[in-house]
């Protein structure tokens, strides 16, 4: 329903007492909450942030008029005049009559690549375009610290600060990249990598200050990544940004985790403790327990280079009832931690990445338990040389339906035979497992009665010629088979498409069924 249009404002505005605007601006707390509420709504009511911006632009003598359009649902918000208000000449600028809402609609249809040129048209467009921006990766800390970031982009939801937390020379052509972070280096760097990172990082007070500024300026934040913050910085994020759901903390330690407990709506968390060769930061059981007690709504957790032990994992399992995905990367946990996984009752996905060891001394089998709801097990670039570790891991993951093993060292036939205890596997993917032979593969998958899909890629010791009749019969039953153990095989994406398993002796010789 639209109302009858209001007449445009009287060109000579009535003299209002100056204290009204001042009062409004001084008492910013209710204003902030009002704006927060309004920003959370759809783009249907943009007049509030514009008006707020209008105040900021007061001294800059903008020509943007505020003739309200009739369809703004929230009409209680008072329109207070820009002291430099001048009645627009309707002939000169057709877009002046367009409300912010409509102009935003137009701007939102433009592709991302136009962002820069659109912002440079005029101040009003700069402000409106800035309001559309949701994601940002900061490169220069000064941009945040000077307040420019929150002034230009008040509606940010995803912010990546990691690259900006380093003091790095602007024009450097040297990029240092690790799995976890990347930074530009000046040509005068020393070769002591350990110190490089810590030397180039801004002091913790600076980072905390920046975080606080960001939190206050962008209350709709949902995802933040930062390095080198302390618990104060994290606390300010927790207090101001109620909608924070994803947090990535690099160089995290137990103290920082004290601040995390205040982020009650957190769902996805990534903690980076130790990065080999760059920095070492301790996340231990203490931190994990604090985390467990604070973030009960956690759904996805990634622990990179963290220490800890059975107690920490058990605490997480018991307190974070909604935890569905756990990723362990390059861990330094104490032996015996695997048994803690059985406390994670709703865990569906378990990932190991770049782990040099799993759990050399997992404890007695009876105490290992099993993750009851586990569906997926992914092992990527791990060392699987220790039989006890691997055996214990497969036991804990006895209920998995999907198993993915990629580029794992030490996975020979013996090791893989330990996987037979996972009797419910429906999908298996093997990639880069160069020690495994067809015989080893066969002995396991023949025991898996529920197996329906198989993918074998780049496993050079699995030879087509060694496929036994029972294995080929099994293959014919599969819903999906991707068979590329060596580079010579072509890739049949579905068994049905290549007439595999059909009785057709005249078309295919049995032993050549898999070679095309």
């Amino acid at each position: 329903m639209s109302f009858a249009p209001e007449k445009p404002e009287n060109p000579s505005p009535k003299k209002r007492p100056p204290s009204w605007s001042d009062l409004w601006l001084k008492n910013t707390k209710p204003l902030k909450h009002v704006i927060f509420t309004m920003q959370l709504q759809s783009l249907s009511s943009p007049i509030t942030p514009t008006t707020k911006n209008n105040n900021n632009n007061n001294n800059k003598n903008t020509k943007s008029p505020k003739i309200p359009k009739t369809q703004i649902p929230i009409s209680n918000f008072p329109k207070f005049p820009n002291p430099n208000f001048s009645y627009p000449k309707s002939e000169s600028d057709p877009t002046r009559k367009l409300s912010d809402q409509t102009l935003l609609q137009i701007l939102s249809k433009l592709p991302d690549s136009n962002h820069n040129s659109i912002s440079l048209v005029c101040k009003r467009w700069l402000n409106l375009q800035g309001r559309l921006v949701r994601t940002l990766k900061l490169l220069s800390w000064h941009f945040l610290e000077s307040g420019r970031l929150v002034f230009r982009f008040p509606n940010l939801t995803h912010v990546d600060l990691v690259s900006g937390c380093f003091f790095s020379p602007r024009n450097s052509g040297i990029l240092l990249t690790n799995r976890v972070f990347s930074m530009h280096l000046g040509s005068g760097f020393s070769t002591k990598w350990n110190e490089l990172c810590e030397d180039s990082l801004f002091p913790v007070e600076v980072i905390d200050r920046g975080l606080k500024m960001l939190a206050c300026g962008c209350p709709n934040l949902r995802k933040v990544s930062v390095i080198g913050a302390s618990e104060l910085g994290v606390l300010s994020l927790a207090e101001e940004c109620m909608t924070l759901q994803v947090l990535e903390l690099h160089m995290c330690n137990d103290d920082v985790l004290r601040g995390i407990a205040a982020c009650t709506n957190l769902q996805v968390l990534r903690l980076v403790g130790n990065v080999d060769g760059f920095y070492g930061s301790l996340v231990s059981d203490i931190g994990l327990t604090i985390l467990a007690q604070g973030c009960k709504r956690l759904v996805k957790l990634e622990l990179y280079g963290c220490e800890g032990s059975f107690d920490g994992i058990k605490a997480i399992g018991q307190c974070c009832q909604m935890l569905e995905e756990l990723s362990i990367c390059d861990h330094r946990m104490d032996d015996g931690w695997l048994a803690g996984l059985s406390y994670c009752e709703n865990l569906k996905t378990l990932r190991f990445q770049s782990c040099k060891r799993i759990d050399p001394s997992p404890g007695p089998e009876d105490y290992l338990g099993c993750c009851p709801a586990l569906e997926r097990l992914h092992l990527h670039k791990c060392h699987l040389r220790d039989k006890k570790s691997v055996g214990a891991m497969f036991m804990v993951c006895g209920a998995v339906r999907e198993m993915v093993l990629q580029d794992c060292w030490g996975l020979d036939n013996d090791m893989f035979s330990l996987a037979s205890c996972c009797r419910r596997v429906e999908f298996l993917s093997l990639e880069g497992c160069s020690l495994l032979t067809t015989e080893g593969l066969e002995s396991v998958i023949l025991s898996w009665k529920e197996l329906q899909s198989l993918r074998v890629e780049s496993c050079k010791n699995i030879k087509d010629s060694e496929i036994s009749p029972s294995l080929s019969t099994l293959f014919s039953v599969f819903k999906e088979l991707q068979w590329r153990p060596d580079t010579k095989s072509l890739r049949p994406s579905s068994v049905l498409g290549i007439a595999m398993g059909k009785k057709g002796g005249k078309f295919f010789k049995r032993e050549r069924l898999f070679v095309h």
Binding site: D93, D112, H115, S119, W125, T135
Partner: protein, 126 residues
């Protein structure tokens, strides 16, 4: 629902927002929509023809009319047309298209350009 505003428009004689010329363009749109609802391509062609020779000022008036009449599809279409017209064009072109002038202070534009280059990246729209 679409037509209650139109009815109001006819009832309310005193409005300045929608001149007659614009009204004759916008108002037949709902009927056409209903007729060619199933066939999107035809609708597109019809709309393309309609707007082939329209100047930016006209376009703005059309948008205002559609906005006032609460006609969402037309509003969306006109906005898309404007967006297509200024897509991937330079800053000056966009300014000329709308007849805008830059109200930035002398050093400010340069400062903004620097910010774009060095201060952040990965800016996505909603």
């Amino acid at each position: 629902m679409k037509f209650c505003t139109v009815k109001q428009y006819f009832d309310d004689e005193n409005n300045n927002n929608v001149t007659n010329g614009i009204a004759t363009t916008v108002i037949p749109l709902p009927n056409k929509h209903l007729k060619i609802k199933a066939n999107n391509k035809e609708m597109e062609q019809y709309e393309q023809e309609l707007l082939r020779n329209v100047m930016p000022q006209e376009l703005t008036k059309l948008i205002l009319a559609a906005n006032y009449l609460n006609f969402k599809e037309a509003l969306d279409f006109f906005c898309r047309t404007v967006a297509n017209a200024i897509q991937n064009k330079s800053v000056d072109y966009v300014r000329k298209f709308f007849g805008l002038e830059s109200d930035f202070e002398p050093g400010e534009e340069e400062k903004l350009c620097k910010e774009f280059a060095w201060s952040f990246e990965g800016v996505d729209e909603d």
